[in-house]
């Protein structure tokens, strides 16, 4: 097996024991990138020289027998909406194509303190708005399992990089499913932590009440290790929680006896993909065999979640994206002779934003505008309460919920891009999680006959990530879906 094909915990061990150097691992990752990146397009920016320099520094620390973290020297890819000092942060948007971050996001600062090696920034839907990564202004990322299909989105580049062994670890962000859905479609592990678990400082804001950073990894242990490093309170994010951070590797227990698992009937609807349904139901049967208590439950407001989300997320986005006006950073329209400041703003934003971003700014502005606020924005906030109450009630009798992550496996590039509503409905199973602020994971649970990955979603109570990791780890110990590699 090549180094780049190993998991982060395997590599971390080898580096710690001095059996391989971080430089060797980093080189093997870049060798892989040089081979497959032309066909996959996971990255927007690669930082090979900086990565090798960083790797040699870690190797130096090991030679000097300095104390190092379990993931020291492991190469990691970062979604291009998180700031690394001195590196471009484009959000896959023309409006930020030359924006060089002047500081580190808190997650980056923490990973630097733990000596991880940054290899590059991954492609995404522009400003994280999309479910296929087709909304990138720069390139189309291909699903490593089938190059004609999408990798999911918006963290499609991070998921594709993990699936194709171009990176050992990756970070993504999840506003309505943007970590879990691409993880599902690319056959990797993706966790959206509880809202407030991970600092959002230095994450380019899309919808501030829903956004959360989380790991995309090759297995559950890697996910737990990365969570150990990025979780915790940050004074620079007033919505981050001062809540103790456990050692998440302690919850990797191969035992789920007496764990109460709820299966919401609204997530198994007529017309859903049969292969997805079968794989998820097989997984539930396996968990039952392993001792979990399975119970069918109901989340009656599920069908309203997509409508709630596309009003609230767009309203928040229309406000957050007001800052791109060509003054402090980013692109300024070069149309000659701006007669006024307002005209410059309008030209800059008209030129700089792509279709989906404009559509969402328009929808959000409309939902917040005088005369429509009560009918749309306030109404959606009220239904958000109902969606959240359903979930709170479910957790009175369940420890976690299990559902499919996505109603379908990956779909063809171009298939949904001209039909926004159809694309929005790809997020139907992931959105409620963000509306309720709870954590959720997607793990591989099977493949279709056409060899496309299928993902299982596990949801739990706020700050109970340990339950998710325990159930996911137990499932992983009894299956080998996560070990399959795409042929590229």
């Amino acid at each position: 097996m090549k180094l780049n094909e190993l998991t982060a915990h395997e590599i971390g061990e080898l580096i710690k024991k001095g059996e391989v150097s971080s430089e060797e691992v980093t080189k093997s990752v870049f060798k892989r990138i040089e081979k497959v990146e032309k066909t996959i397009n996971s990255f927007v920016t690669l930082i090979k020289d900086e990565a090798l320099k960083q790797a040699r520094l870690v190797d130096e620390k090991i030679r000097k027998k300095e104390k190092i973290s379990p993931l020291a020297g492991v190469p990691i890819a970062i979604k291009d909406n998180m700031c690394i000092d001195g590196v471009l942060t484009t959000c896959s948007s023309k409006i930020l194509e030359n924006f060089k971050s002047p500081y580190d996001a808190t997650v980056i600062k923490r990973l630097k303190e733990n000596d991880l090696v940054f290899i590059g920034k991954t492609n995404m839907d522009e400003f994280a708005m999309g479910s296929s990564t087709e909304n990138s202004a720069f390139k189309i990322t291909h699903n490593p399992w089938n190059l004609e299909t999408i990798p999911g989105g918006s963290s499609g580049g991070s998921a594709a990089a993990i699936a194709s062994d171009e990176a050992i670890l990756a970070l993504g962000s999840d506003t309505g499913g943007s970590i879990r859905q691409p993880a599902s479609l690319c056959g990797v592990v993706g966790l959206k932590p509880t809202y407030g678990r991970v600092s959002r400082y230095g994450l380019v804001a899309f919808a501030s009440s829903l956004d959360q950073i989380g790991p995309l990894t090759k297995d559950i242990r890697d996910c737990a290790l990365l969570m150990n490093l990025i979780s915790g309170y940050d004074e620079r994010d007033s919505t981050s929680c001062d809540y103790p951070v456990p050692d998440y590797t302690k919850s990797l227990i191969n035992d789920i006896k007496e764990v109460r698992i709820g299966v919401p009937k609204e997530y198994f609807v007529k017309g859903m993909d049969e292969e997805v349904e079968k794989s998820v139901k097989d997984a539930i049967r396996l968990l039952e065999k392993l001792g979990a208590k399975i119970e069918e439950i109901s989340l009656p407001h599920t069908e309203y979640a997509v409508a709630v989300y596309y009003l609230l997320a767009t309203a928040e986005a229309s406000s957050n994206l007001a800052r791109y006006e060509g003054v402090k950073y980013g692109r300024r329209s070069q149309v000659a002779g701006h007669r006024s400041l307002i005209e410059m703003y309008e030209e800059t934003r008209g030129e700089g934003f792509g279709d989906e971003v404009k559509r969402r700014i328009m929808l959000g502005t409309y939902a917040l505008s005088a005369g429509y606020y009560d009918a749309y924005y306030l109404k959606a906030q009220k239904v958000r309460t109902l969606v959240k109450e359903d979930i709170d009630k479910a957790f009175e009798k369940c420890d976690c919920l299990i559902t499919p992550t996505s109603p379908t496996p990956s779909f063809k590039i171009g298939e949904k891009i001209d039909d926004p509503l159809k694309m929005y409905l790809s997020d139907i199973f992931t959105i409620s999680t963000n509306l309720a602020g709870i954590p959720g994971i997607s793990i591989p649970c099977g493949f279709t006959k056409a060899d496309l990955p299928i993902g299982l979603q596990i949801l739990t109570k706020p700050f109970a990530e340990e339950t998710i990791l325990r159930v996911a780890h137990t499932y992983e110990q009894h299956t080998d879906w996560h070990k399959r590699k795409p042929r590229i």
Partner: protein, 96 residues
């Protein structure tokens, strides 16, 4: 019946400071109409007695001590500015 007209789209674009082409206006009118018709399903629910959720955490105001700390240096702040002059951001004329 349409939920939104081209005139509405032009008004909202103005509020959002977005310059749209004629083609974009036509397209967005159609697409936003479709989306607004879909979100209308929220009206199936009686929410008279429901309190809105703007945020999931029970956070009130989060205060910190009013201490002076180092901030980003002017030079670094201006590095990304499309136009600058004498330590300031430069913009087109604001007042006629």
């Amino acid at each position: 019946m349409s939920k939104i007209t081209k005139k509405d789209v032009e008004y909202v674009a103005k509020l959002a400071r977005l310059k749209l082409s004629e083609k974009e206006k036509e397209k967005f009118t159609k697409q936003l109409d479709q989306i607004l018709k879909y979100v209308d399903k929220l009206n199936e629910l009686d929410t008279k007695k429901v309190k809105p959720t703007s945020h999931v955490l029970p956070l009130k105001n989060v205060f910190r001590e009013d201490k002076i700390k180092k901030s980003l240096e002017v030079e670094k702040t201006l590095e990304n500015a499309p136009e600058k002059a004498r330590g300031f951001f430069k913009v087109p004329k604001v007042i006629e």
